[in-house]
Structures are given as C-alpha cells and as structure tokens.
Symmetry: C2
Subunit: 314 residues, 2 copies
DNA sequence: GGTATTCGTGCTCATATGAGCAACGAGATG
DNA sequence: CATCTCGTTGCTCATATGAGCACGAATACC
C-alpha cells in the first residue's frame, strides 16, 4: 500500500465514520469505485488507524479476556475497560462492580462461598444487588478481626454478601496473624474455629483479592504487621499477599514461619479448588496479580485492562 | 431506556465492535432478536457510549470543520485531529501539513499568493511538496528582515513556497516595524517597496498565521519589539498579532501609533480579500484565533481540534 | 524478448443492516 | 370498566456491505 492509498484511506475513514456517508457516496466524492473504498476502509482498520472505544463504567474488553483465558490458562477472565478512568478509586469500583456482576451471573450458583476480606472485597459486597442469589451461604476463609480503624469491614464484607444473597455468613473468629505459633495452633484446635475452617474447605467456590506488599497493605492498616516487617518481606522477595499469606513472584510462601502463624485456608487448599475467583486491580498490584495467575492460585480473574495487559506482556 | 437496556447495549457493543459478531449472532448470545440488537447498538451510539477515533497525523475532524463553516461564517475550515499528539511541535507540524495539503488542492490555483512569515508558515513551506503547483508567484505581505537569530526564515518561507510551486518570490525589503514614523513613510515611498506592496495588494489569495501576545513572539525573537513593549500591548488588550499588527479580542488595532510604524498590508486590506487563509494552532493562540475569526480577518482557517472547539464554545 | 506470476481491479452474488410499518400491550384517562 | 394513547416489538422490504472470482496490467524471471 503506497502513501497515496494511506491518505485516501484516512479521507475515506473520515467520511465513513465521522460523516456517516455510504461507501458508494465516498466513492463518488473521492472518484473511486465503492469496492476500492471498502478495501481502503478495511486497510485503515487493519493498520490500526481506526480506534473504537466503548465508554462506559461497565464496559469490558472481550479480546483481552480471551487472550487471558487462552494464553494464561484461566477458566474465565473478566477485564474491565479503563477508558475514561481518572482516579484509582474509579478503577477499583469498576472492577468490584464487574466481579459482583460475575458472581450474580454465575451458574450453577454456589451453595457455599468462601470469601477473603479487604478493601476490594468490601467494595464488591457494596456493589452487589439485593437478591443477587437465593440462599448463598458465605464463609470466611482467613482470619480477619480488624484491630485498628474501620473495625468490622471483614465481617461486613461476608455478612453483606450473604444477606444480599439470601443466605447467612459464617465468620472465622480469629486474628489474621498471631504473634506466637502456639497461640495459632491453640486457636485452630478450638472447636468453633476448626469447624469454620472445615466449612471453608468444603466451599463450592472461593472469592478473594490480593494485597500489594507495601505500607498501604490492610495488614499494616489493621495492625497485624508493622511497616518494617513488610519491608523485610519485600527484601525476601514478597510481591504481595493472598488470604493473608505473603508470596514471591513464583507464588511461593516467602516466610514459612510467618505463614505458620497465619490462620485460614492454605494456598495449596486454594489451588486445589475447582472455582476460585480473584479480584485484583490497580498498577500497584501488577506484581501480585502476575504471581497469582502464574502459580494458578485462581481459576477466574477479574481485573482491569492495564493489569491484564501487564500479565500478557510479561 | 432503562438500566437493563443500557447494560445490554454495552454488552452488544462489545460483541459487535470488539468481537466482530453480527447482530444476529449477538441476538442469539443475549437471547434477543436481531432487531432489538440493532436498536441497542443505535442507542449506544446515540448516547455517546461509542467513540470512534481516526489515529493518523493527517486525520481531520470533518464535523468540527462543518460547524466552523456554519456557525462562524467561514468559507472553509480545516481542522486536524489532535488524537495521539503529545508535543506542541507535533501539533504545529500536523497543522502546517494540513495547510500545505489545502494549498496544494486549492482550485483555481492562485497566480499570485501573498504570504506572511513566522514559525508556522516556515513549517508549512517545509511540508509542501515539490511541484505542488505550476507557476505560483509569491509576494510577501509584511516586512520581515529577521534581525537576530535564524536570519532569513522570512525570506526562506516565501522563496520555498514559490520554488516548490514552480514560481518566483517577491520579497518585501523592509523591517517589520520601524522605530520612527518618518522612516516608515520614507521606506513605503521607495519605488521598489511601493511596487512590492502594490503587488501584494493585487494578490489572488493570502496566506498568513498569527502570533500570540507573549514573550515567545517572533517579534521579540527577531528584535522588533522588546519583551516589555509586548507587556504594554497586553495591558492595552492585545491578544496577538496578524501580519505584524497587534489586535485586541475584537480584532481592532491596539496601538495605532505602533501600527502606523508597521510596514505591509493593513488589516482592512486583508479583510477585503476574497480568499485569505489563516493557519493558527496551539493553546497559546486560542485568543488570537478567536479575534481573527470574529473580526473576519480570514475566509479560511486551518487549525487544530482544541483551538477549533475553543472557537465554537466561546 | 517472451512467458510466468503476482497484484490490483471491477465485478457477481450472498449476507448484514437499517427504514418503515402494523400489531400488541401497558399504563393513562374518561 | 372501557377506551385511548403511546411506546415497544417483530416483521417486510430496500439498501449497504463483504466474500469470492475472473480479468488485465505490471513486474519478475527464464
């Protein structure tokens, strides 16, 4: 295709897409046959001169979703468009909304749903519609009594998802991380706690997010970890946490001693699940998202466009 | 249109524009008739959810061009797309290229073309192709011996346009602005200078740009005006200059005494021309562009998308 | 210099899409 | 409660578009 044709294809595209002319009319205007016009338009598209965007908070990027499924072996992928997004909150809200939509449309409806907690999942619980399901029981899969500010978001997340789904929530009455291994073992051997964890193991599906390994982490905010401890984990290769457990870029536990003091489902139990939905968005979480997908911690990923492209490029 | 339909129209748009499905296939996927799908897509478009952009340095914005013609009474308007533009130079280059294209396609070809000078027109002269016309004579319409750096761009502009158009250039051998009125009158009564100005008055078409009233002005750069003098003009309401003459937002001369010392075509002579092409781009020139169009200094405007929208909004 | 090959062109035909219309149903109105 | 009105739906038909094909010109190759 020579330069003249390139210019003509642009002129044709202007008349076609901006002026809504038919290819025949364009042909008359540019002194071309309508077949030539059709070919010019096809070339303009094929060469990437035409960009079509869907501007809507609920818009998804289906081609990227397919690439994620095909190239990264996911059972399903939901990628929200970031076109027109200005703030990080907006991106988070879009992703949470998409995850809520996915849950709502999920068939068969899980009878028991294991959930983690955190900002993203709380947001998700807020975006769910009342009656999104009829009779879904929710069980927490990792410890989560918030120590500092915003107490109860962990509980509110599980309870919210359950109530709106016409079911009830089973909370895991334990801190996320304990200071001493003996305490953790004692708690896990408690009848109630052990019962909840057993129930969590039997869930039909899991829903969780991931945290970045930095000072904004909910673990720091909630007081389970000091900022300096996170720095140490990063030095050991941590890229973020999943259900409270810090992993490196290969999805391996970074600090086994710390992990042993963490209450809840293990990562291998999560990996064994037939349906585990990860909801991860934002540039800060690109490394964790990568680790989660590579190490097959989830079968379904809900994320944003930029994160998805990061996963595909790397 | 209720919320459900809005969501459906987005789903339909995804399948239509990103997955290249037919409306019939989309109907099957979403359990709708193909007519419903067509209507949903039409609504998505009409509500502005679908954005189609043409990404190319030569792309123009025809709907904006039409609005400029219709709403601002221009004989013609060329608006280059600023999609994907990152630097000011790029925008300038696109606009200059579009003006060069316009000149090349102009029919009837002007026998004599009056030109101004400046960065924009120099850029334009560089973008013209050899042989863009056969036998166009170019005449300078305002004084333009550069005093400081980049000497000769004024001459190079006129000569370049003429040579590439198979004609010759007639230069106006005079400074743009003289220090004393008497000197200006003396120069204008010189046989050669008077002849050039007469020729300029008889040109078939004029091509000029406009300068912003700030310290980046070519007049400051060329040494005709001190930065402080420009500040003074701004205080008196100047928004920029056209062929060396400073105007306010209504297109009136800001400083008649200064204007009397400026050599070249007057603004009223320019306004009387049947074809005068202004090439103006960049955010800094929004106010001058407005003044030029409002006061009918040009019949044809070549500009960028943002400037055009500024003219239409205000 | 003749022949083969490739590419672009204009066509036919099948398909996708949009305009316009009649029938239907939900809600308003007497 | 009957009727009216308006908006929605599924349709028919006209039009716009894309796929595939045969031809001819330009280029490569023997």
């Amino acid at each position: 295709m020579d330069e003249v044709d390139e210019l003509l294809s642009i002129r044709a595209a202007e008349l076609y897409y901006e002026e809504n002319k038919t290819q025949d009319e364009i042909g008359q205007a540019l002194r071309l046959t309508r077949w030539k016009v059709g070919r010019l338009l096809a070339q303009a598209k094929q060469r990437g001169f035409i960009r079509i965007e869907i501007l809507h908070p609920r818009a998804r990027r289906l081609p990227i979703e397919r690439r994620l499924r095909d190239e990264r072996g996911l059972a399903d992928a939901i990628v929200v468009s970031s076109a027109g997004v200005t703030t990080a909150e907006e991106l988070q809200a879009r992703t949470a909304q998409a995850a809520a939509d996915y849950l709502t449309a999920l068939r068969p409806v899980p009878r028991t749903l294991g959930v983690s907690w955190g900002r993203t999942l709380f947001d998700l619980s807020q975006h769910l519609r009342n009656g999104w399901a009829t009779g879904v029981n929710v069980v927490q899969i990792n410890g989560g009594v918030s120590l500092n500010r915003r107490p109860g978001t962990a509980a509110a997340t599980a309870v919210g998802i359950a109530q709106k789904g016409g079911g009830s929530a089973t909370l895991l009455p334990s801190p996320a991380i304990l200071e001493r291994l003996a305490t953790k073992q004692a708690i896990e051997s408690d009848r109630v706690v052990a019962g909840v964890i057993d129930l969590a193991r039997s869930a039909d599906a899991y829903l969780f997010s991931a945290g970045a390994a930095d000072h904004t982490s909910v673990h720091v905010e909630s007081g389970y970890l000091a900022a300096s401890e996170v720095d140490l984990l990063v030095e050991k290769g941590a890229v973020g946490d999943v259900v409270g457990r810090y992993i490196d870029s290969d999805g391996n536990i970074v600090d086994p001693a710390l992990d042993a003091r963490t209450v809840g489902l293990t990562l291998d139990e999560l990996r064994a699940a037939p349906l585990s939905i990860a909801v991860i968005s934002g540039p800060a979480k690109h490394p964790v998202a990568d680790a989660v997908v590579r190490s097959r911690l989830c079968t379904v990923l809900v994320t944003d466009e930029a994160t998805a492209l990061h996963l595909l490029d790397g």
